[in-house]
């Protein structure tokens, strides 16, 4: 080992420690931001080390410098601008996009080394197997994450996309990947073998993600994130760089655990999600076929304004519909109108409200909702008994009292006890069922009134009418 190698290996080790400690610190809200900062310092150290290494080794030519610097500069510019400008509602799809390019980069490294080191010669399995795994997993996460990004942002329909023969096509694609594996592992390098592996992996990522409903996407994004970690680790085997192996494997394992926890919080299993065909993506799809049952009481923005103006304690229950309609500004405005007049306002936040676990807290924090007004499930539930008006905005399954009974799709899921409050107002686009496809008896209860509207538009009307009664 040369002096340079020794020093660089030691610095890589330090940066690996930064990643592990960073992830560890991110488990608690108090230290989370510093944890991410520590992991960024580790990344900075690793990048400085590789810059020094390639300068000292001097194998890079001038064109190499140009493409490297150009690629990095454009990538940093694009990534940072996107990350700074993105509205908080669109964060999930952006994370998925960043994940896609990470998988893409890992696949590119595998292809590069296969072509460069191979050059028509036979390669040992010790080299070609990591290349194969890197290209296949990287390719799957690249196309899969792009589809997930599209589904979350609405460029690809959120509903499960299935077509006749999809299963057969899946089998064919998997067989083609196996054929490419056999060619790459058993024969002298040929550019078409790795192209076949790449194209078929891209197809597989597509076929895997398309049949999955939009509401399941967070779990899929998290799973693909873990996959990318593995692809990066295999890229580390290919170029014999241990910091890639350590960081990649760390993300692969930690991401897997996170995926399981997310699926658990959403009351779904990963196997069920991957089987696809479940969920529409938009829980309030608002189709005309959803007739309003006779026993449901409809109300108007004017009446809701009156109720809120004369309430003492209001509990806002935000859900997926609020996130989808990007109505967090309107909700914060309504709360401010009420609190200015001395009316108590709190938010009851279900762990899986929003587009992703924890996403609702981020959305509300973004519009300056005070931390002490955001009540988590266990704190919120005892408060409903003293709540005059519970304002349910685009939430459905997380308020469904059927979860307390057995024998249905949401049995046992922890819910918010909205039905215990004195009066319940539900803002919802239609009577359509929530994500779990279960009717919600809350809507036809005596103390419940329905206001059929888009969350954003409905809240604007309610803010206007509330102001009128408070003046």
């Amino acid at each position: 080992m040369s002096a340079l190698q020794t020093v660089s290996s030691l610095i890589y080790l330090v940066s690996a420690i930064c990643y592990v400690l960073g992830v560890h610190m991110m488990r608690s809200p108090k230290t989370a931001r510093r944890g991410n900062g520590l992991s960024a310092i580790g990344m900075f150290l690793a990048v400085i080390t590789i810059i020094v290494t390639i300068i000292v080794e001097g194998t890079i030519d001038s064109v190499g410098w140009i493409v490297l610097i150009l690629g990095l500069a454009l990538g940093i510019l694009y990534g940072v601008v996107k990350a700074r400008k993105v509205p908080m509602t669109d964060v999930p799809q952006l994370v998925s996009l960043f994940n896609a390019v990470g998988g893409g980069a890992a696949a590119v490294i595998g292809i590069f080394d296969y072509l460069l080191k191979g050059d028509g010669a036979s390669l040992s399995i010790a080299f070609s197997l990591p290349v194969l795994l890197d290209v296949v997993i990287g390719g799957i996460t690249f196309s899969g994450s792009l589809i997930a990004t599209g589904k979350l942002s609405g460029h690809v329909p959120g509903k499960p996309i299935t077509f006749p023969g999809a299963r057969l096509l899946n089998v064919i694609v998997v067989l083609a990947i196996l054929v490419s594996a056999w060619l790459m592992l058993g024969y002298a390098t040929n550019v078409w073998y790795v192209v076949l592996a790449l194209v078929m992996s891209l197809c597989f990522g597509l076929l895997m993600t398309l049949p999955i409903g939009g509401a399941d996407m967070p779990v899929v994004v998290s799973l693909l994130n873990a996959f990318t970690g593995l692809a990066v680790a295999f890229a580390g085997f290919v170029i014999n760089n241990q910091v890639l192996i350590i960081a990649g494997a760390l993300v692969g394992a930690a991401g897997t655990i996170l995926t399981l926890q997310m699926a658990d919080a959403m009351n779904r299993s990963v196997a069920n999600i991957l089987a696809g065909g479940f969920g529409t993506g938009d829980s309030d799809s608002g189709s005309a076929a959803d007739a309003v049952p006779v026993d449901v009481k409809e109300t108007s923005a004017d009446d809701i304004g009156l109720q809120l103006a004369y309430a003492q304690n209001v509990m806002i229950v935000p859900g997926y519909g609020l996130a989808a309609a990007q109505a967090q500004h309107e909700v914060a405005e309504l709360a401010k109108v009420l609190t200015d007049k001395g009316i108590g306002v709190n938010y009851a936040i279900h762990p899986v409200a929003g587009r992703m676990p924890g996403h609702m807290n981020v959305l509300l924090a973004d519009v300056n909702v005070p931390y002490d007004q955001m009540k988590q499930l266990d704190d919120a539930n005892p408060m409903f008994e003293n709540t005059d008006v519970a304002l349910v905005i685009g939430a459905n399954d997380v308020t469904n009292p059927l979860a307390r009974e057995s024998g249905n799709a949401i049995s046992g899921m922890p819910i918010l006890d909205v039905d215990k409050s004195k009066s319940v107002v539900v803002i919802k686009r239609s009577m359509s069922t929530g994500y779990a496809g279960v009717q919600n008896p809350l809507f036809s209860m005596d103390n419940t009134q329905m206001f059929f509207s888009d969350a954003k538009k409905g809240l604007q009307e309610i803010v206007a009418s509330t102001k009128q009664y408070l003046e």
């Binding site: 940066s15 690996a16 592990v20 960073g22 560890h24 608690s28 809200p29 989370a32 992991s39 960024a40 990344m43 690793a46 390639i54 194998t59 190499g64 410098w65 490297l68 150009l70 690629g71 990538g75 940093i76 694009y78 990534g79 990350a83 952006l94 960043f98 994940n99 390019v101 990470g102 980069a105 490294i109 590069f112 072509l115 010790a126 994004v221 994130n225 970690g229 990066v232 170029i239 014999n240 760089n241 910091v243 350590i246 494997a249 760390l250 993300v251 930690a254 655990i257 996170l258 926890q261 919080a265 401010k336 609190t339 762990p351 676990p357 973004d366 909702v369 005070p370 002490d372 988590q376």
Partner: protein, 105 residues
């Protein structure tokens, strides 16, 4: 099996185990930022982009090196920035607390 491969394999397996261990129960509030933070960490693939750029010697390889550098840079730079933005909102909350209480009274 070469010594190099064995070392790498051992590192790989042990890192997997560390990953499983370090990720115990995460509060739901932090799951989205955690995913984003883990996403930024696999941006370490940018180190690989440097390595291949140093070996590129013909048009095809230059194109691949450019793609690798661009993709990896988006991943690492964007990943850390957006994670920090998300977590910054959690930081801001205690600061907003007194103001919120004043609003209520």
């Amino acid at each position: 099996m070469s010594e190099e491969l064995f070392t790498n394999l051992a590192i790989f397996v042990l890192s997997l185990l560390v990953g499983f261990e370090v990720m115990s129960k995460i509060p739901a509030t932090l799951q989205t930022p955690m995913m984003s933070g883990a996403n930024a960490i696999h941006g370490v693939v940018v180190v690989g982009a440097f390595v291949i750029a140093a070996e590129a010697n013909s048009a095809v390889f230059y194109v691949l090196a450019f793609l690798g550098a661009f993709f990896a840079a988006v991943n690492v730079a964007g990943g850390y920035t957006v994670t920090d933005r998300m977590l910054g909102m959690f930081d801001r909350k205690p600061a907003a607390k007194p103001k919120g209480e004043a609003d209520q009274k």
